[in-house]
């Protein structure tokens, strides 16, 4: 962007009168607290509703485990998406990267007989490699991120299906499943991996110079550039990190299932998106935040499990995830317009 180009858009600014004073109310801001936690409240209401109307089915330890013992892969995908969203980018290939790594682990370990550690490392490297290609396409060449990552996602999915000959690959050892399924406080350890990933990303975004830079790159790329930040390196890095984290999700999923069905990959993308956008309504309203996404994943899962227990199966997930995504995005748009953020 050349300097003179920037000059044609003077901001409408006031010229006369005293500066307006935006005094904040003193004391705790209850409205803020309500908006930060409203999703949690709705979650509790939903859970209470199921508990009342389906008390015999819903109030079971098994139900609790069904809700919190699954979906950690969505948490990881949400973390991967937030990496790219934060720097103002978009990655539609995360679910395919997860599928690639999830398929490579059994392919390499079972079919090719590689040591499991090596298979995992190669699977992660492949998923990160997808991120590298995304970065080259979007950051270096300048392709629109939606088109580039949609194309890459489809390409990677296709390659995965070819490599696995469209079959479910399994046969991973029982020992490997301990990686994800070891019991900790009654839940599989992968739940805590997901929580840890969210806390880590929340820490990076909230407390480190890296996170601050990412946030500025996402909200005002030129401002970041003129402050001396290497904007393109951060954008590229976000794609690679997103691919790698999706790869971790794939490895854990392979560990849980003892193998991987590559045909299921694409069904993970929309739920992850729904959780990320729904998560912007909580913890830090109006911003993509990993803890909000974490809460949203299990909020959605609660609703789905409850409805499934009521006998609604098959179509419920699509309605619930799709509806939640649209509702979350619409709500966020309205809130942003009202608060001018």
């Amino acid at each position: 962007m050349s300097a003179p180009d920037a000059r044609h858009a003077p901001a409408p600014e006031g010229t006369a009168g005293p500066e307006p004073a935006f005094l904040r109310p003193t004391g705790p801001d209850y409205r803020d607290l309500v908006s930060r936690t409203s999703l949690i409240g709705i979650w509790l209401l939903v859970a209470a509703g199921f508990a009342i109307f389906e008390s015999d089915l819903f109030l079971q330890e098994g139900t609790f485990k069904t809700i919190f013992g699954a979906q950690f892969e969505l948490v990881f995908l949400a973390v991967a998406l937030i990496c790219t969203f934060t720097v103002g980018e978009f990655d539609l290939s995360v679910a395919s990267s997860m599928g690639l790594s999830g398929s490579l682990v059994p392919l390499l370990a079972v079919q090719d007989g590689l040591p499991i550690v090596l298979a995992v490392a190669l699977a992660l490297a492949a998923a990160a490699g997808v991120g590298v290609v995304n970065g080259i396409l979007v950051v270096r060449i300048g392709v629109d991120p939606i088109v580039a990552t949609l194309g890459m996602g489809t390409l990677v999915l296709g390659i995965t299906l070819w490599a696995t000959s469209l079959n479910v690959v399994n046969g991973l050892s029982h020992g490997f499943s301990e990686l994800a399924l070891r019991d900790v406080l009654g839940l599989p350890i992968a739940f805590f991996y997901g929580l840890a990933a969210c806390l880590l990303l929340a820490y990076v975004l909230g407390f480190t110079p890296l996170g601050r830079r990412m946030a500025f790159v996402g909200s005002s790329r030129e401002v970041a550039r003129l402050a001396g930040i290497n904007v393109n390196r951060l954008r590229f890095g976000a794609y690679v990190a997103g691919g790698l984290i999706a790869g971790v999700a794939g490895v854990l999923l392979a560990s849980t299932l003892g193998g991987y069905d590559p045909n299921t990959s694409s069904s993970y993308l929309l739920p992850a998106f729904a959780a990320v956008f729904l998560g912007t309504a909580v913890v830090q309203p109006g911003r993509f935040n990993p803890l909000g996404a974490f809460i949203a994943v299990y909020f959605l899962q609660t609703g789905i499990v409850g409805l499934q227990l009521a006998g609604l199966t098959g179509w419920v997930e699509n309605v619930f995830y799709g509806g939640a995504l649209v509702l979350a995005v619409a709500t966020t748009t309205v809130i942003r317009r009202k608060t001018g953020r």
């Binding site: 962007m1 050349s2 300097a3 003179p4 180009d5 920037a6 000059r7 044609h8 858009a9 003077p10 901001a11 409408p12 600014e13 006031g14 010229t15 006369a16 009168g17 500066e19 307006p20 004073a21 935006f22 005094l23 904040r24 407390f207 480190t208 110079p209 890296l210 601050r212 830079r213 946030a215 500025f216 909200s219 005002s220 030129e222 401002v223 970041a224 550039r225 003129l226 402050a227 001396g228 930040i229 290497n230 001018g340 953020r341």
Partner: protein, 528 residues
Amino acid sequence: MPDQSTTQTPPRLEVRSVSKTFAGRTVLSDAGLAVAPGQMHGIVGQNGSGKSTLAKVIAGYHAPDPGAEVIVDGRELPVPVRLGDLRAAGVGIVHQDLGLIETGTVVENVRIAALKGAGPARRIHWDREAEEAKVALDRLGFRRSLRSLVKELPPVDRARVAIARAIQEHRPGQGVLIFDESTRALPTDALEDFYATLRRLLDDGTAALMIGHRLGEILEHCDQVTVLRDGRVAAAGVPTDGISEGDLATRMLGHSLARLSLDARERVRDGTKVTVRGLVGEALAAPLDLDLEQGGIVGLTGLPGSGFEAVPYLLAGAAAARGTITIDGEERDLARTSLARLVAAGVALVPEDRPHEGLALTHTMAENIALPWIGDRGRPWMTGRAWQEREARAVIERLGVVPPDPGELVGKLSGGNQQKVLLGKWLVGETRLLLLDEPTQAVDVKARQDLLRAIHDVAAEGTAVILASSEPEDLVTVCDRVLLFRDGAAVQEIAAPFDADLIIAATYSNVTKASAVGGAADRQGGSS
């Protein structure tokens, strides 16, 4: 209010009591004007004076505050103005960059908003469309094929296409044409032809409203001129006969700045210097050499597009440049030095485009101020809150930012306070060279004084400062010397002591002659 004594018939276009408030900030206050039939009426004013806002209210792009009236041929239009009503009343608008589709044909460009489908399939009959377009184009003296592509046309014919689109629905002798800085897209040698064409339309009774920034052009061609300053009408409908560019510029700029007296700075002549050699880049055609001493403030000024406003971006590495910059004895090739390295070497840029390049409006004051320093002052695993809070408070105190709350979102501050935060952001660390582009744009008098004082103080502490500004009062208040730019080159150096009138006179004198000789700068820079 507009002076209407000259005509018996109602004015073609009259606007009254137009005010516009954006988020609590009044950018246009009780503005009005009247354009008589057959008249060419100019509107001039600086950036932020409200002239574009006024044009956009008339064009229906902005909804004005309640109370505004827009009257065409004696008939009041409902406000906010709707495009359909404007077209029905015969008001045509030609936008800044003419708004042409480069890859379309002449017919397509003229008829784009008026295409009619016919028959059950609503098919476009291009022959019929071409006939319609030809009527309008003929009135303008367009002689080329209607099937030619717009990108292949010479500039004056491009302007004719844009005007044809605006006038195609009026009957000759009626209506109003509004040109929102449209001549900016024309090279100087095409201007005469353009105005001759326009004058032919006006002779029949059509009126024209020209929003412009080249004062010489406005004075030469318009019958009357309205001057806006700080959102108000500073001079309404003044006949252009017998006014000089200097008069007009003085009315436009005003002496709104109560003179700020600053202590003399002690310049460190023997200290390390910043030297620039052979600086060339877009909009800056002639190589520029600069010698800056610590504590000195060099002003750059000129007309929009003359190249002065490009220099800060070229020196900061924000735009592709050639040449060398030497800071503290270390020479750097600008073509091969990244912006990040220059920032690390102590070069700071305060850009003009505050909401896009200057500040992140959705982040807090403290976050914005800390941004350039977060790598040096924070640790990789922890940004550290104490220093951010401390530095933000220091900026707030130094520049008098209101409200004094580091946690306030920048987007909620007024323009003047945002500008203070933008400058303050670069006062946190050790800045060797401070590059400023219009740092007092559209701020009130008090904020302007605070900003100028801060700039003066930074220089007094030993930073070399370059101030690119079209505000003569700012330049004379803080600068030691001022370089005047014309057609992409520094043509004159004016040293203190000076006053604003001297700079105005130098900036606007011989402008038409100079731009007639070298229209090159308009084609290269072309924007303000």
